[in-house]
């Protein structure tokens, strides 16, 4: 008797798009089911439903949070989101600009690399949250500047080192080749090095968004009157676990959307790289 081998799991075997979507949905459903079961068990065991809101309760909480505040006429949930995303965008934008410039300079010019690499490496080793106290003094306790500064400080050194490494890893042959086709040094950087490393740079930026969120929420915990971090602190003070969970889920959704956005940008900017498997 031969065993039916159709269902053998083979590592690296492809999967149909439909199955992939279905399995993704099943994954989400599974997490929700496990959570619902936990809530059920907790409440059955005499636990306070306040501390274990079910999915229905979370939906209600979402409704509460997105209600219009009668005093201001605004929805705090959305305005918090807008404020947080604004600071995140500023921090990311500034950090990316700074680290791309520095990283490229370090990757292309050996002198800059020799001069900056030790300093930047050392700065990258400072836990950014240790700088909160200093930044609050330097940039002011109120306002967003210290939060932006924290994000920039947190992501730039690592990003710059990474971009530098990637730029240095461009095969020397392609650089020599560009020169042999009549390129100037500027041409080599702009037309041979930068376009080649763009997908990897976008990937590193994508990974830097995670830490950027950490520093933003940490800064908002410490001091703010608006923002998602502030919303979570308020909910904590009122012991609204359901509100905290809604914020947390919202953070997950925002993070996923941003992540997907970077994938799209990468595909748009470097269509050649998405079909590439290896060197």
């Amino acid at each position: 008797m031969t065993r039916d081998r159709r269902f053998r799991a083979i590592i690296g075997s492809p999967i149909a798009p439909a199955s992939r979507v279905l399995l993704g949905v099943i994954g989400v459903a599974l997490v929700l089911a496990v959570y619902e079961y936990y809530v059920h068990a907790h409440v059955q065991g005499g636990g306070n439903p306040r501390f274990s809101p079910g999915c229905g309760q979370l939906w209600t909480a979402f409704g509460e949070l997105t209600d219009v505040d009668p005093r201001t006429g605004a929805v705090p949930f959305w305005s918090d989101t807008r404020v947080s995303l604004g600071i995140l965008a500023k921090g990311l934008g500034l950090g990316i600009a700074l680290s791309t410039a520095l990283g490229l300079a370090m990757g292309v010019l050996s002198t800059i690399h020799a001069m900056c690499s030790p300093v930047v490496t050392a700065i990258a080793k400072i836990p950014p949250t240790a700088m909160i106290a200093l930044f609050m003094v330097v940039f002011g306790v109120t306002g967003d500047t210290f939060k932006v500064a924290l994000i920039v400080f947190g992501i730039s050194p690592t990003l710059a080192i990474g971009i530098g490494l990637v730029a240095r890893a461009v095969p020397k042959n392609t650089i020599v080749k560009a020169y042999s086709l009549g390129a100037s040094t500027l041409d080599v950087v702009v037309k041979a090095i930068i376009p080649q490393i763009i997908p990897q740079v976008i990937e590193m930026i994508r990974l830097a968004v995670g830490p950027a969120w950490i520093y933003l929420i940490a800064a908002e915990y410490i001091n703010s009157s608006e923002g998602i971090g502030h919303g979570i602190v308020l909910s904590q003070r009122m012991v609204r676990i359901d509100h905290i969970l809604v914020y947390v889920i919202w953070l997950a959704v925002l993070g996923t959307v941003i992540d997907f956005g970077f994938h799209l940008v990468s595909r748009l900017v470097a269509p050649w790289s998405s079909t590439r498997k290896d060197d």
């Binding site: 042999s180 079909t275 590439r276």
Partner: protein, 288 residues
């Protein structure tokens, strides 16, 4: 007949190169003389480690010599420029450009000044782009790659990548085309068809070629001048010398008696195993 002597395409005078190794320097060669003038297809061959790729890098200008001078049309060679094309074994193509864009790369660089190009971008594009495109397509047709013009390099086989790299270099009409073991990573059939293609391009486009290979049969097939670089078996630490420099019949059948005799001769002179001596041991240890 008195005629003003044309400056040689390449003139290497008493050039030497050495690399730093642990405990001193490894001399690759010292005092080589090579002159290339006119429409020649030079096969530079030698056992691995004899310095043929080093010589090629010096000619290209991506490396500076330890001693001696290199000139191309009388101008000293200081860095790679568009008068000397290069095809490497790998990574000759830009991964972010399609085959056509790769071939157009040099043309796009050569015509305009940066400011003018940026100021008049749409106009510039419509005017020049079409001409570059036609020129590049013609070049691609020559290497039989016009059907794959819009593919990215990673979508091509190794042989097609090398064809594209050859087209990319040839379109600039370099004084000399340098090739560093260009077919070394290809299978036998692909290699043969590319050897025929490069010989055809040599005749069609009047390009001088310096072709580096460690495959002696390949060297004899493609070249019409043979340069053999080898170490002196008695004094390996002194570096390599040119042991054979002679004109040969291009595309001669391998089975022919003359070819076989030449093959045997080159094997004897250029690929002899070095006799071990104290000097060699010192070098070997230095390399470790």
């Amino acid at each position: 007949m008195t005629k003003v002597a044309e400056l040689p395409i390449l003139e290497c005078r008493r050039i030497g190169q050495r690399y730093r190794v642990r405990g001193g320097h490894q001399v690759i060669f010292d005092g080589l003389d090579v002159t290339i003038a006119g429409h020649q297809f030079i096969s530079l061959v030698g056992a691995s480690g004899c310095g043929k790729s080093t010589l090629l890098r010096l000619v290209l200008g991506s490396e500076r010599p330890w001693k001696g001078t290199l000139r191309s049309n009388g101008e000293p060679i200081t860095h790679p420029d568009r008068t000397r094309g290069i095809v490497f074994q790998k990574y000759s193509l830009f991964p972010h450009r399609t085959v056509l864009e790769n071939v157009m790369f040099g043309l796009e660089l050569s015509t305009t000044y940066l400011v003018q190009k940026w100021l008049t971008w749409p106009w510039y594009r419509s005017r020049h782009h079409r001409r570059f495109r036609d020129e590049a397509m013609a070049q691609l047709r020559q290497v039989k790659l016009d059907d794959h013009a819009d593919k990215y390099p990673h979508q091509l086989s190794g042989g097609m990548q090398q064809r594209a790299a050859i087209a990319q270099a040839l379109i600039m009409k370099p004084r000399i085309l340098l090739m560093d073991e260009p077919f070394g990573a290809l299978d036998a059939d692909t290699r043969e068809s590319l050897q025929r293609a490069i010989v055809r391009a040599f005749h069609d486009q009047q390009t001088t070629v310096l072709f580096v290979t460690h495959d002696l049969e390949e060297a004899l097939y493609v070249g019409n001048r043979l340069l053999v670089l080898a170490k002196d078996p008695a004094r390996p630490a002194a570096g390599s010398r040119i042991v054979i420099d002679q004109e040969i019949a291009q595309s001669a059948p391998l089975q022919a008696k003359e070819t076989q005799e030449l093959l045997a001769h080159v094997r004897r002179v250029g690929f002899a195993a070095p006799t071990s001596g104290p000097e060699l041991d010192a070098v070997d240890q230095a390399w470790l």
